[in-house]
């Protein structure tokens, strides 16, 4: 277990270091003078320019610049957005809440819906499974930005059930959440059902049934836990997918968030912000994966003994 924790920590550090290095490389691969790249399209005084060169050590050799950058990031300094006239950290901080809310609710929705669907449809009549897998196929194929537009048109513009832009609380969150959640819900349902079907063949399921346990009871009490383990493994990867889907969805629903911030930064060539977002999402990824490791212990009691 200690070994496992150490490996996990090592990998996490490596991912973070990788993200910093990728950002640094991106900065230096961008055509043009590095100071100009950092400033982007805004106009700054010569004093500010000199300050940037000093801050990033741009007049020093490349390894020193790298070390300087690494040191700054380690201190939590993500740099300055000269276009937004604020620090990258505060720009991201102001938007992070809305995005985390969207991502977290989509994740909860996906897990709840896919678990329910998988429990209800595994090993059922052919047509139920056929219908379900047909929907899953459409769900993974349909582009998120298109689903978002369809939802917005039908439920906001035509039916007027939800606000078309922004909106506080749950009513504003619901449609974006569905749009982001659809692909991962279908993916998870498919995987969980396949797992459940394998597990329902296991001898311990037969034992439970022979003790007179109801079908639903067997599924919920015995089979589900086993089916959840591989699904949890998928979650870490799913979070990356959610963060990607968020960009178009936030734009379509005119929601605040990291997606909008990133999109504006990409179109405006505001590299410090894009680099900051890459770093923050890498941190999120690492945190989520540590949480997932803890989740294994909750779901699979056998792992607790090893701890």
């Amino acid at each position: 277990m200690t070994r496992r924790v150490l490996t996990r920590l090592g990998t996490s550090l490596l991912v973070l270091w990788g993200a910093v290095t990728v950002s640094f490389t991106a900065l230096h691969l961008t055509p043009g003078n590095v100071a100009d790249v950092l400033i982007g399209s805004s106009i700054v005084t010569p004093e500010v320019r000199a300050q940037i060169i000093a801050d990033y050590g741009l007049d020093r050799p490349l390894p020193v610049q790298y070390a300087t950058y690494l040191g700054r990031v380690l201190r939590g300094d993500l740099g300055q957005s000269y276009q937004l006239h604020e620090s990258v950290a505060s720009a991201i901080g102001a938007q992070l809440g809305a995005s985390v809310q969207l991502t977290a609710s989509a994740l909860v929705f996906a897990v709840v819906v896919s678990t329910t669907l998988a429990v209800l449809t595994a090993r059922r009549a052919r047509w139920i499974r056929g219908l379900s897998s047909g929907l899953e196929l459409v769900g993974v194929s349909i582009p998120t930005f298109w689903t978002a537009i369809l939802l917005l048109t039908v439920f906001s513009f035509q039916l007027g059930w939800f606000p078309a832009a922004g909106g506080d609380g749950f009513s504003g969150l619901f449609l974006p959440m569905i749009a982001v959640a659809i692909p991962i819900t279908t993916m998870l349902t498919q995987m969980m059902r396949e797992n459940l079907e394998l597990i329902l063949d296991e001898p311990f399921v037969l034992t439970a049934r022979s003790r007179g346990m109801s079908d639903l009871g067997v599924r919920l009490k015995h089979a589900l836990r086993h089916a959840l383990v591989p699904a949890i493994t998928l979650l870490g990867w799913v979070v990356g997918l959610l963060l990607g889907g968020m960009v178009a969805v936030e734009q379509i629903f005119s929601r605040q968030g990291i997606g909008q911030l990133t999109l504006a930064a990409v179109t405006g060539k505001d590299l410090p912000v894009v680099m900051g977002v890459v770093l923050i999402t890498a941190v999120l990824y690492v945190v989520v994966n540590i949480l997932i490791d803890l989740l294994y212990l909750v779901v699979d009691p056998r792992l607790r003994g090893a701890a």
Partner: protein
């Protein structure tokens, strides 16, 4: 494509294609024809504007209606097949090439190289995919080629992982040992024996992933980072149609249908290939 099916499935119980697989293959054929020779499928040119017929709904004259400039939506979708498919196929081809090289390097280049390559792969897989693509586009600027490169960058690691795993298994296979004992050169063994055998699962993964890459490319063009207007590309068309949604739904709906059906068909065909590769079960 049909030759691949035959080689993979040869000597094993064949999975009989379901009607859905045939429909998907047929649709992909039509899309491919549209991409290669759009003039055969659609009348006129994608940029022919008729201001008097702007924002008309679907009718016999304009099968899928017209857009805000009076351009025929059907014609634009047909002409948009090439850039849309190209982005998906190009990104996948580039990713497979880079991933194969990295995977072989990791599997056969010794322990140190293996560690370095696999850690790199792990880091790249950990960064959220679309954000990595956005970083590339910030650096390189918008455009079709940069979109292809951006998508290839984040899809290549999964191919590298697969090729490495396959190679690790194959290098201990009887026929590789036989080839080694016959005194064949290392290069020849890799090219003639290892690579072709690692290729079947790679091809299956790549087929399914073309769909994912296509959606990613369409998303980036939707965000205005891909081909620039007036180029007919599905994602860009959808984006342009968004502003007219309440008065002319067809401008945004039909390009979306085109993307979804294409990706759906690719997934169906890809899964059929996977069933064949796995020996016709499931």
């Amino acid at each position: 494509m049909s030759t691949a099916v035959i080689t993979i499935g040869a000597g094993r119980p064949r999975a009989v294609p379901r009607p859905g697989v045939w429909a998907a293959a047929l649709f992909l054929t039509v899309v491919t024809v549209a991409a290669i020779a759009p003039g055969v499928v659609a009348p006129g040119t994608p940029d022919a504007a008729d201001a008097l017929a702007a924002l008309r709904g679907p009718s016999p004259a304009h099968l899928l209606g017209t857009d805000a400039n009076g351009r025929d939506v059907f014609t634009r979708i047909v002409f948009g097949a090439a850039p849309s498919l190209l982005a998906g196929l190009g990104a996948t081809a580039l990713a497979v090439a880079a991933g194969t090289a990295l995977g072989l390097l990791a599997a056969l280049g010794g322990r140190v190289l293996d560690e370095v390559v696999m850690r790199l792969v792990e880091v790249l897989l950990a960064l959220p995919t679309l954000l990595l693509a956005l970083l590339v586009i910030t650096v390189a600027g918008p455009g079709t080629l940069n979109v292809i490169f951006a998508i290839a960058l984040y899809t290549a690691p999964s191919y590298a992982r697969l090729v490495r795993a396959q190679t690790m298994v194959i290098r201990h296979a009887g026929y590789v040992e036989a080839a080694t004992s016959l005194g064949l050169t290392r290069r020849r063994i890799i090219l003639r024996h290892v690579l072709p055998n690692a290729f079947a699962p790679l091809l299956v993964l790549a087929t399914i992933e073309v769909g994912t890459a296509l959606v990613a490319a369409a998303s980036l063009s939707y965000l205005g980072l891909g081909p620039q207007p007036p180029a007919p590309e599905w994602g860009a068309m959808l984006s342009a149609g968004r502003d007219y949604f309440s008065v002319a739904w067809w401008i945004a709906i039909f390009p979306g249908v085109a993307i979804t059906l294409t990706v759906l068909s690719i997934t169906v065909v890809g899964r059929h290939l996977r069933r064949l590769a796995e020996g016709g079960t499931s």
